[in-house]
Structure formats: C-alpha cells, structure tokens
C-alpha cells in the first residue's frame, strides 16, 4: 500500500515540474532572453507553491475530496497551459500577464498538493517515515520529469502534447485516489465522474493538438494576424499593425501597404510608359493585383492577362474588403483575365503575343522557383513578346543579393534580350532591383500616368544609375541544368544573415 501511495507522490511531482518547464521553455522561445524567462518563471512558480502550502492550513475538512479536486484542477490548468500560452501569444497582446497568471495558478495548486497528501497519510505512517518518504519520492519524480522533458517529450511529443499528457497523469492520479482512499471518502461517484470528464477533455485536447499547433503558427508574425490560410500551394498570411498591412506567402514578405506603391509603380511604369500604344499585357505572378492596378492606369491597354498559380490568392484579392481597397478592385476589372496556372507550362501552351510582360515571381529560394529564372524560361518569354515589346523582371536586391541580381541580368542577355537594369529603395524591402528586357535599345518614357505617388518621368532615368556597391559582378547565366541562381541566392543571403 505505501509504495503505491509514494508512486502517486512521484507522479504528482513530475507533473508539477513539467508545467514549470513548459512555461519556462515557452517564455524563452517566444520572448527570448532565456535566463530572464527561466529565472522569473521558476521564481514565481516556487513562490506560488509557497503560497499554496500556506493556504493548505485553511483546508480543514474533507481532505481527500479536496485533494482530488485539486489534482483535477492542476490537470486541467497545467494540461492546457502550453496550448493556452501559444494561443495567447498568437492572438492577444497580454502574453506576459497570462504567462505569470498561469504559472501562479499552477504553483498555488501544486503547493497545496504535498501538504494535503501528508496530512491524509499522517494516520498511516510515523511522522519521521512520512516526511522522509514523501519528500524522497517528490524529488525522484522531479528528477524523472527533468530528464524526460528534454530527451523524450519535447522532441517526440512537442510542448502542447507534453503538457496535455501530464494533465492526463494528474487526472489519472485523481481517479486512482478515489480508489486508494475510498475509506476516507464520501461522494465517490460524483468525484469519479468529474475525473472521467477531465480525462475526456484532456484527451480531446490531445486529439485536437494539430489544430492548436496550426493556430499557434501565427505567432511567427510580429503583428496581428488578420487573415491566414494554408492553400494547396502556400501559406497566405496577412498581418496588420496600425495602418500597415503586410502580406506573407510561406513566411516571405510580399508587400507592406505603406510602401508597396513604390515597388509597383517602379515595376510597371518605366517599361509600360515607354511602349506607345501597348494593347496587351501579361502579368506572371502578382496575384495581389497591385501591378494590375498600375497597368489599368493606361486606357490604351485593352487586355491584361494575370497568371497566378494559386486560386485562393486571386480570390482573396478579389473579395477581401481591405485588399480590394488596396488594389482598387483591379482583379474584378473587365479588362483583366485571371488564369490560375503554373506559369512555365502555361506560357508554353499559349500562342499569344504581348506588348508588355510583368514577371513578378517569388525570389529564387528553391530549385522549383529557380526554373522561372532560367535561359529556357526567358527564351520562351521572348517568343511571346511583340517586336517593340518589353518585359520587366522582379530580380531580388542588387544590394543584399548582388550576384543573384546580376545573374538574372546575365541570364536574360543569354536568352537574347537587351537588358536595362534599374533599382529603387522600398523601405520594407530595402534596395530592390528590376530588369527591363527587350529586343531593342530602351528610351525612358517622356511621361508617366498622372497621380503617381513615387514615380515621375524625370525620376525614371535616375533609377538606371547604380551606386558603386551595386555595380555588376561576374555571374554565370542560370540554366535549368545548373540552377546557379538558387546557389547564388542562398550564398548572398547567408552572407547577410550571418
């Protein structure tokens, strides 16, 4: 009999320590500064345990029933603590407050456990024996938990499930206690029912932990997440901080509403304004409709074909109230035709020829995207450009990814284009680069559409000037069978971030 009791002491102790570790780890991860987080979490947890132990003196009657209720409470609060903290971080501004409240509540409840248990057991053992054994098993449980947590629980189960699992252990001890102390306990069936209910809740939590994880993923973004969806192709996230709305595709920033006009005006007008009488325009990528918004400023343009892989993306930017304000309902304009297709095969199957093509793909972060920056792709592009036509290519940063930028220029040259590289400063991106590509020399436009916020005709020629630290560097052309661009890009950004 006593051994069984002491095992439950060890289990309770293990649970208590796990919750403490979960809180400390989460705080360090989400807030940084692990020394500070662990010190304050452990400190407040121990202090709360002291408070709990003190409060135990006020529990006088129905010790066993109280003990079991406390176990159930610890199981619930502790079990869901990790999930609650992740969600608190993702969806509220008050993560710190919630963290310490959770730590304090668990601490107080855990602080109550051991004194109550010792009083329950005092009639069964000598005091000397009791203290020695209870404390021995208490510390043994703590040791086991401290080893299990980093070695097994975090890597295999993850934090949300680890906490839930130990919540189940707590509730299990509670249920077990209704049998162990049945002679000291009245109203057993009600307590047992409560135990079963708590166990069921925690188990449901285990099963739903995947969903909790997904929801908590939002915590990756610094600002409030106003929209997030996993599509077949990517994860679309919109964040908002004051009047700044940002779009992230699979964690890569696409635009900030504060300065996207700089990017999109510079993307479209230097090229399109220089082609008198351009009628047909193609946009590859750019499902946000912001480049299309700029193109629609040309009344001569009769048709704009937008090819974006992800239907969710174009749907979002056709319907979301804030986003349609931003792109001025460009995607629902009658002149715009949306194709949800993979750009390379799409271009291969079409016969159409365009006067202006906007190539606005994500940066070449992997070999799949790298295909869209190859001589093979640009040669195909050339076949779909009218004689006087121009293409403009989003080409990463000539400052942060200098070799990547000039590699794209080199690749366009190898595909038979005359290239006209230019760049500008976009605060949320830094220095950013584009390349105009055509079959003839390029003359900057004499005028640009009215009402632009960044670009003027006088400014355009200046964009083609490169300061010394962005001047051309040697780069091989990017081909399907060498994919040097992806390697350059990886190298360039590694230099910056390390």
């Amino acid at each position: 009999m006593p051994v069984v009791l002491f095992i439950s002491v060890a289990l309770i102790a293990a649970c208590g320590l796990i919750y403490e570790l979960v809180a400390g780890t989460l705080a360090s991860y989400l807030l940084g500064d692990s020394v500070f987080q662990f010190s304050t979490v452990i400190g407040s947890y121990l202090f709360a345990m002291g408070v709990g132990s003190y409060l135990s003196r006020y529990v006088t009657r129905g010790l066993v029933a109280r003990f079991i209720s406390i176990e159930l409470l610890v199981g619930m609060v502790g079990g869901f603590s990790s999930a609650a903290l992740f969600l608190a971080f993702a969806y509220t501004q008050g993560f710190r407050l919630i963290l310490y409240v959770v730590v304090a509540v668990i601490g107080v409840l855990v602080g109550l456990e051991i004194p109550l248990l010792m009083r329950i057991l005092k009639s069964r053992l000598q005091f000397r024996e009791l203290v020695a054994h209870v404390l021995t098993f208490d510390y043994l449980g703590a040791l086991a938990a401290s080893l299990l947590f980093p070695i097994l629980l975090v890597p295999k189960l993850g934090m949300v499930r680890s906490a839930l699992l130990f919540g189940i252990v707590n509730a299990g001890v509670a249920l077990w206690s209704t049998f162990l102390f049945r002679d000291q306990l009245g109203g057993r069936s009600l307590l047992r029912a409560a135990c079963v209910a708590v166990l069921a809740l925690l188990s449901t939590g285990m099963a739903a932990s995947e969903k909790i994880t997904q929801a908590a993923d939002n915590s990756l973004y610094a600002d409030e997440v106003i929209f997030s969806r996993n599509t077949r192709y990517q994860r679309i996230v919109l964040t908002k901080w004051k009047d700044d709305v940002r779009l992230f595709l699979s964690s890569h920033l696409q635009f900030s509403s504060r300065d996207e006009y700089r990017y999109h005006e510079a993307l479209v007008h230097p090229g399109l304004a220089a082609i008198p009488g351009a009628r047909r325009v193609l946009v590859l990528g750019g499902g946000d409709g912001l480049a299309v918004r700029e193109i629609l400023k040309y009344p001569d343009v009769q048709s704009i074909t937008l090819v974006d892989l992800d239907p969710e993306m174009t749907r979002l930017f056709s319907t979301h109230p804030y986003l349609v304000t931003l792109n001025q309902r460009s995607l629902t304009n009658a002149r715009v035709h949306i194709m949800n297709s993979d750009a390379f095969p799409w271009l291969q199957q079409t016969e159409d020829v365009y006067d202006f093509v906007v190539v606005d793909f994500p940066d070449p972060t992997n070999y799949s995207l790298g295909k869209l920056y190859t001589t093979a792709f640009y040669r195909l592009l050339a076949r779909h450009l009218s004689v006087q036509g121009l293409a403009v290519v989003q080409s990463t940063s000539p400052l942060f990814a200098r070799q990547s930028y000039w590699c794209i220029v080199e690749t366009l040259k190898h595909a038979g284009f005359k290239t006209h590289p230019y760049h500008l400063y976009v605060p949320s991106f830094g220095e950013w680069g584009f390349v105009l590509a055509g079959l003839y020399p390029y003359d900057p436009p004499v005028s640009v559409p009215g009402g632009l916020r960044y670009l003027s005709a006088a400014l355009v020629p200046q964009l083609f000037q490169f300061p010394v630290d962005m001047l051309p560097v040697d780069a091989e052309p990017n081909r399907l069978n060498n994919q040097v661009l992806v390697r350059y890009y990886e190298h360039d950004w590694r230099e910056i971030t390390h």
């Binding site: 991860y29 993850g158 964690s251 993979d342 390379f344 869209l372």
Partner: protein, 499 residues
C-alpha cells in the same frame, strides 16, 4: 532566421504526426518470360498462314533494331519490316504513362555525346535535341542532378563526400588522374569499337585493378562498384577492368548532361516510332528462322517473312533458340534486373539537400531511384512517379534469375519499400502503387575477357546473311552502342543490297 524559428516551432509543437500507411496496388508487368521460355523449351508454334517477301527483316524493336530501321529509312530504303515480340517497341528504352507523368521502364538517360559519337549527334540533331551546336536546355538534366544518402543525410552528388577523410579525397583525386591518363590513350571511346584494343586490363576485374593500384578508400571502392552495378548490372569484382575504366574514361570530363526526359530513353523510342511505325509490327514474336537457299525464312505468329537479309537486333543469346547453325554464344553473360515504378501521392520527407533527378542510397543493394517529374517545367509538383532500379548483381546471374521469377510481387514490393525507408521514413504513407518489371536478361555483362572473347568476334562477323546488331556485341548495353551496332548492320545490308 525565420527558417530555424519555424523548424523549432514545428518540432516542438507538432511532435508525433499521424502515421497511416497507404494501401499499395500494383503487380508485375508483362515481361515476356512466358514467350521467351516457350522459345527455350522449343514449344510447337502454329504453322504460317501467309508468306510475305521482303528484302530485310529486323528482329527486335529495342534501340538497336529501331536504329537499324532509322538508318534504312533515312537512306530511302523502305523495303523492310521490324518484328517486335512485345506489345510495345522500345526494349530497354521502353516507357509507361499514368495520369501523373510518363516514366521510363529501363534506360533513362544518354550522356551528352562526345565528338566521336557522330551517330548519336546526328540523331539528336534530327530530333531537335542539338540545335546549331547547342543542346536544348529542356532536355539536359535539370539541376540538381544527383544526390546520395549517406550517414543519415542527403548530400549533393553521388561521389561520397560526407565524412570523407583526407585519405578518401586523395584516392579520388588519384583515381581521376589515372582515368585522365586512360582517356588520353584514345582507346576508351563511344562507340567502343572505334578505340578498343586488346588490353591487359581485360584480364582482371576492376575491383582487382583498384587493389593493384593501391586504392584503399572504401568510398572509392563503393563508388566504382556502384558505377559497375548501375551501368553493367555487375559487381566491380565481376566487371572487366577495361569496361570499368571505359565507364569513366569514355565520358567527357566537362559534360553538361546527361540528356534525359520524363520517360527516359522512351522519349527517343517515341520519336523513332513516329518516323518508323509503318514498318514496325509489335506483338510479333519470331519463333523460327530457317535457311532456304539464299533466303532466310522468318516465322512470326502466322506470318512467314521471306527475306534476303535478317538483322538480328534482339539479345543475341536468343538466336540459337530460333535457328540451327548459328554461332555458339554460350559464353555471353547477362545481368538480371528489376525495375519498379512507384506512384507517389505526395513526396516523402527527407533530410539534407533538395530532391535530385537521380537519388542513390549508400550501401543499398539496389541502385536508387529516378524522379519522372524532375524534368517538369512546373514549379508546383504534388504527386510523382519514381523509377526504382535494382540490378541483381550479387551471386550468379542464373540463381538471381531464378529468384526474380520465384518471389512474388509482395516480396519485391516490401524489399523496395524497406530500401527506400532508410532515407524516407514515411515512404509507406506516400506510395499508392508499385508496378514491377522483371528483366531476366536485361543487359550484357562485360566480365573479364569479354573484349577478346570468341563469342563477341563471331557475333560481329554474323552468319551468312544474318547479322547481329544488339548492344551485347559491344559487351555492354548502353544506348550509344545499341545505336551504333544497329546502324552498322543497316549500312552493311544497304551495301549488300546494292550489289
């Protein structure tokens, strides 16, 4: 920065994911064992119902036979028929297709041909693969080309570099230098016939040669052994050192290739068939060739072809089963192979560099897999087809052929998945179908002594007006050799016909 944060999150949060294996469909492909064994057992075949007189009959619709036909056709000679036993031509360049992609059933690439391989260049110019001296980018294997699973991670390239010691690197460098010396001799050409001379190298195996040359790196030994298994279906200990050196020394060191297509060399088969299909009879198994005066009577199904010349492009070992008085080919050795096409509903996870075209697992008994969708121009690929290659090289070819036929589909399916599982733990959750092709005599094995062997000499000479054209005349089965042999014999037939 973002990456590591995300990785931490997913590791810490997700923990164990749900694991349910997919039910896997599939079976053996019709691999011609039955019809082949009918020949071996000299079963009786029904008598011919009609006779066709035709000057040239080509037996076998693999690359050798198709190349012979290509040459005849190109020279304006149309009086020939090609007889193929299987329902589809192609031989080792056959291919398949499902709703995801086309895919190869055997050979899946051609190295970018050097200047000596004039015929290969001629064909590729005709097919638009080589245009004004520039190789069409879409047909060059996309980067990344190869990767190797070694010490729990995928590394770039097949030469093992993960945890390579200075000693290993030194051996690889010295090996490359030795190969350069061999290349400089001009003896290791493609086609081999143009450069091959009697050589001491042919007396020993490439494994022995490595020992003689004091190469000790286990990585180098693995690498050479892998190359022999991959190209010849034989262990390095069973491969002539001449053939082993040829594998490395015949290729241009700065080659940009290889050339490949989703359906592998099936793409070339398709292009050839587009030009030649009026001459090709599939499902036409030749069961007897008999001499009658100066003519040859070729029996296939219910038709008898009365020909002036027969180009025997099927594997040469079959010939004695069809006709009396043909040269003995008992000394020829062939490797049994197994290829499997796996349909993947999603791509499995893996550690290390991104998936490549050719993916090899270090120390595996099999050869790894090739990804059919690698040459796709799409950026987003959810489902794929992998072609898994396995040359049964350990032990005797005869015993391995026995095993190939004895074991059922479930055995091979599990063996394939167990092999892949080492590098892709969740592979069983991704694969929905495995089709398996068993090739008892997949390719000629260049064992020591093959170069000077009497069999090879007799086959090259041919027998009267029956000439052999299979790649096994070269001692090893690669595209370029098959094409060369086919074209050579076609030229011979044209010369004889013009007399």
């Amino acid at each position: 920065m973002n990456g590591s944060r995300r990785q931490f999150l997913s590791a810490a949060l997700v923990g164990l994911s749900r694991k349910t294996d997919r039910p896997i469909a599939g079976g053996f492909m019709n691999d011609g064992h039955n019809s082949g064994h009918q020949l071996r057992d000299r079963r009786s075949f029904s008598a011919a119902k009609h006779a066709v007189k035709i000057p040239v009959v080509i037996v076998g619709g693999g690359i050798a036979g198709l190349s012979a036909a290509w040459r005849l056709n190109k020279r304006g000679f149309r009086d020939f028929t090609l007889l193929e036993m299987a329902e589809h031509a192609g031989g080792n360049a056959r291919w398949g297709e499902n709703e995801i992609s086309t895919y190869p059933w055997a050979a899946h690439y051609v190295p970018v041909p050097g200047k000596k391989a004039a015929l290969v260049r001629e064909l590729f110019e005709e097919l638009g693969v080589l245009c004004n001296g520039v190789w069409e980018e879409r047909y060059l294997c996309f980067s990344p080309q190869e990767r190797l699973y070694l010490h729990g991670r995928w590394q770039e390239g097949i030469e093992p570099v993960t945890a390579a010691t200075a000693r290993d690197c030194e051996d690889f460098t010295r090996f490359a230098a030795r190969i350069n010396e061999f290349r400089a001799t001009g003896q290791f050409t493609i086609p081999m016939e143009l450069g091959a001379k009697a050589s001491q190298l042919d007396r020993i195996s490439i494994a022995e040669w490595l020992k003689q040359e004091r190469f000790t790196s286990p990585y180098l030994h693995w690498y050479v052994n892998y190359a022999c298994r991959d190209d010849y279906g034989a262990l390095s200990a069973d491969t002539s050192a001449w053939a082993g050196v040829h594998y490395f020394a015949s290729r241009e060191p700065d080659e940009k290739g290889p050339l490949t297509w989703p359906e592998g060399n099936g793409w070339i088969t398709r292009r050839l068939l587009e030009r030649l299909s009026p001459h090709v009879r599939t499902g036409a198994m030749v069961h007897r060739i008999a001499r009658q005066g100066r003519k040859l009577r070729v029996f296939a199904g219910e038709t008898e072809y009365i020909a002036d010349f027969v180009i025997f492009a099927a594997p040469s070992f079959l010939a004695p089963h069809l006709s009396e008085g043909l040269p003995s080919v008992g000394g020829l050795s062939y490797s049994p192979w197994l290829t499997a096409n796996l349909t993947l509903e999603r791509l499995p996870g893996d550690a290390g560099v991104e998936p490549a075209w050719d993916n090899v697992i270090f120390d595996s008994p099999a050869l790894g897999y090739v990804v059919a969708t690698h040459q796709s121009l799409r950026t987003h690929i959810e489902r794929s087809v992998w072609t898994f290659y396995w040359a049964l090289a350990r032990g005797s070819p005869a015993a391995n052929r026995g095993m190939l036929l004895d074991k059922d589909w479930h055995y091979w399916k599990d063996a394939i998945l167990a092999d892949l599982e080492r590098a892709h733990p969740d592979i069983r959750q991704c694969v929905s179908r495995i089709d398996i092709l068993r090739l008892g005599h997949a390719m000629a094995r260049p064992v020591p002594g093959f170069l000077e062997s009497d069999e090879r000499r007799r086959l090259i000479a041919g027998s009267g007006n029956l000439w052999f054209a299979n790649a096994d005349l070269s001692g090893f089965s690669i595209f370029e050799e098959a094409q060369y042999r086919g074209v050579q014999v076609a030229e011979r037939a044209l010369r004889a016909l013009s007399r």
